[in-house]
Amino acid sequence: MEAKTLFDKIWDDHVVHSIEGGPDVLYIDQHFIHEVTSPQAFNGLRERGIPVFRPQQTIATADHNIPTKDQDLPIKDELSKKQVEQLAENCNQYGIVFFGLNHPDNGIVHVVGPELGYTRPGMTIVCGDSHTSTHGAFGTIAFGIGTSEVEMVLATQCILQTKPGKMQITVNGSLQKGVTSKDIIMYIISRISNSGATGYFIEYTGSAIREMSMEARMTICNMSIEMGARGGLIAPDETTFEYLNKIPLITGNPNINNSFKKWQNISSDPDAKFDKKFKFDASFVKPMITYGTHPGMGMTIDDTIPLAEEINSESTGSYLKSLDYMGFKPGMKVLGHPVDYVFVGSCTNGRIEDLREFARLVKGRRRASNVTVLIVPGSKRVEQQAIEEGLAAILNEAGFELRQPGCSSCLAMNEDKIPAGKYAVSTSNRNFEGRQGPGARTLLASPLTAAAAAVTGRITDPRDLLR
């Protein structure tokens, strides 16, 4: 038999039908929806007069536009309120489980899926959100889709997809102190570029990946889309099984032993062929930061912004426009640059481990007076755990406040906006123009680098504070 990659195996297992010369009809095991990209899909079902085909295979949560304070009060923004109410109504009408505001399982869709056990090895998972790639950390084919495709999944549990190419990214070596998985993925993106993986699905492998926790792996897979890839996945191993073994939804399943046995064999064949391969050494990676307006514009925190001459001449115009937006110049350093805002959270870095890292660095220090800090847990469970572990107390003592869960300042659909012209160190995934509010200037970084900025008020190498 022909050697197959893990991606091939899962994909091939889910092909219902292949259209000649066209896309495959791919069966979707698990579908997640949220308030922003689903209403038009439900409207489509109504116009066609058809039901949701497999309502038990869709889970809904409200996350994108919700406030991260006073969640027990009605949502102030009328349009956001209407959108969340619409989702509740749609779920009610079609029999879909919905984690609304204040539900103990509410949170960012890519945080709650894994933590509740809806994300399991070998699955196909989609959601109307490009960071669905996060779930790939569990050995799944998980990717973002548009609203028309959300409607397809609701209507038929399938979508039409052309099989992407296969890319392998190997990361060996051990992470230096003060370096996190966020820095690793930002480093990879800076090397491969923001479009270098377009048309591919990535498998991450290598000793550095193997040594990572599930949370760290989710951060890696989460940002696959920032290289243009549809998704990224990691073969399940003991770390995965240990994580899954703590989840009631999984351990409560009577077939659990069979499942674990099956999951143990989910991996690429040793001689499987990839269309493209990259290899990186994690031990060379230092804390990373972005200086421009897409995630490919990243560098080591103490580096200088590339000169225009170092950029492909065709791209110089876009490059300078980007730096101009940021208020930066070629050749300058961002280290030491004053910071106005810090955002910790999102589906990239809003998990318990991220809050632990942030708390570890700020413990015994104080918030810098010039910085406004938003710390937003990824879910109600993360929020609860942060309180129980004493992280919330550490944050309070250092002059910070733990807010309530949601996507928040990552895309600033709610009130958590960064004002025009202000600089924000953000643990999220996108530094696009206006992403965190019109005119906002975003510098992506790890939770440790965010913590260093929060206590010093400047772009600071977190390693200087960990010594």
Binding site: F53, A155, S315, S318, L411, M413, R430, E433
Partner: protein
Amino acid sequence: MPKVKFDVLESTCVPLPFENVDTDQIIPARFLSATSREGFGDNLFRDWRFDKSGDRNMEFSLNNPDYRGEILVTGKNFGCGSSREHAIWAVYDYGFRAVVSSFFADIFKNNALNNGLLPVVISDKLLKNLLHLVHNKPDTRVRIDLHEQLFAILPSGEHARFEINPYKKECLIKGLDDIDYLLGIQNLIKDYENRINALK
């Protein structure tokens, strides 16, 4: 999904000579709170078209009265970032029927094809020539023939074949959509489910 047909399009172009235009620029997140598909064109490229006080930025090509037409011509990696289909609805609602670039982000391309907006990929060189021509002569007309998969700059005669999946091409020409197709094979989907459940 709206069922629209695409056949042959001949039009002048609107140039947007930037690379890596992400979907947050096409339609900023703060305008995603609607629950219908209509009206997104008003906020297409909102923060580039309008300044902070809400006045038109006359330097931006969409506000330049010289540039008109149903074809948007833009730099590589157009539509990267968020999967929001609202970006397509905005481009379409504004009046564009095709986007020409040397490279599109994956999700944007899929979303476009699902809404009758044709993404046309041409070479870097041809794109550069086209942008240059349109800049100098805004009345430059372009012809996109989906049947023949042919892209042509009419005054210069430069032309190139563009790629499109044969299934998607047929859908666009006939005005069919994927949901109709999937609903038509529901028996195959149920067979698949039965096969999988038997293995469990």
